[in-house]
Symmetry: C2
Subunit: 163 residues, 2 copies
């Protein structure tokens, strides 16, 4: 098998992207841990639920919306449940499925945490980019996601953010 190396422009883009992949999550995580006592992932679980009708979602659907595997989500929900931020229940119609509902405490939590998190995203991602670059970024991320998730199950979620 021949080895297609990366040329200069490709390497340039990749090295920088890799640095962002390495550094950005830590910054977002640190801010939320410090100011809200939440993991970035925990925050997104709560935030996703808060935007869902009835503040309730099935585990599997929630895992799509948050780009997580089911085991990971299950563990996180267990922790959030222990802190009283969400609650699990199931319906008689299909007792295999588990539903997760955001509690009032959870709603309050995400409401308090949101401004700081949004400000961080603004500062580190939105503000440094021009509007054109934001559109470019959306298109670029879209193209990459198409490869990461060929089935398109996850990607389909994002279409709701299209104009």
């Amino acid at each position: 098998m021949d080895t297609p190396w990366l040329d200069r422009p490709q390497l340039r883009a990749w090295v920088r992207l890799r640095a962002v992949l390495e550094l950005l999550p830590g910054v977002l995580d640190a801010q939320l841990r410090r100011d809200a006592g939440l993991t970035e992932f925990e925050y997104y679980v709560l935030a996703t639920l808060s935007e869902t009708p009835g503040r309730t979602s099935r585990m599997t659907e929630l895992s799509w919306g948050t780009n997580a595997t089911l085991p990971r989500l299950s563990h996180v929900v267990t922790r959030l449940e222990g802190r009283g931020l969400v609650e699990r229940f199931s319906l008689p119609e299909d007792r295999r499925t588990t539903h997760v509902r955001l509690t009032d405490d959870g709603w309050e939590k995400v409401r308090q945490a949101a401004p700081g998190h949004v400000a961080t995203v603004h500062h580190h991602v939105v503000d440094p980019l021009t509007p054109e670059q934001l559109d470019q970024l959306a298109a670029i991320a879209d193209a990459i996601l198409a490869r990461l998730d060929p089935s398109g199950t996850t990607a389909a979620i994002y279409t709701r953010y299209d104009e």
Copy 2:
């Protein structure tokens, strides 16, 4: 404090970027673990050393080149040393510093692992993008990195990939 929410285009870009941040590292990591028995981060430590004159670097400089904290790097080097892929030593001129050298086994390891990893990067990042998008991505990542690393210590490393 007022809360500047994200408008549609901003949200669109951010949600997609976040998905990439969540999914891409796992894919790269899984490929390297499976095919080479290396973490993506372990691979980059070895790869960075392999491109350094003398295949040797100080811990601190290596941590810059790989976007890692020193404790993290120290743990990783300990593991790599245990597997015989690198070796630590210090010089009398300043015995606080630790130098890390890639062994022949380490060199062979990275040589064997590189093609598969590069192919993965090609498939998931380079190939889905047009040349224009690659340039855009480099500029976008650059702008974000400037905020992530205001001191510019890390960023300075990347200028060597500029034309």
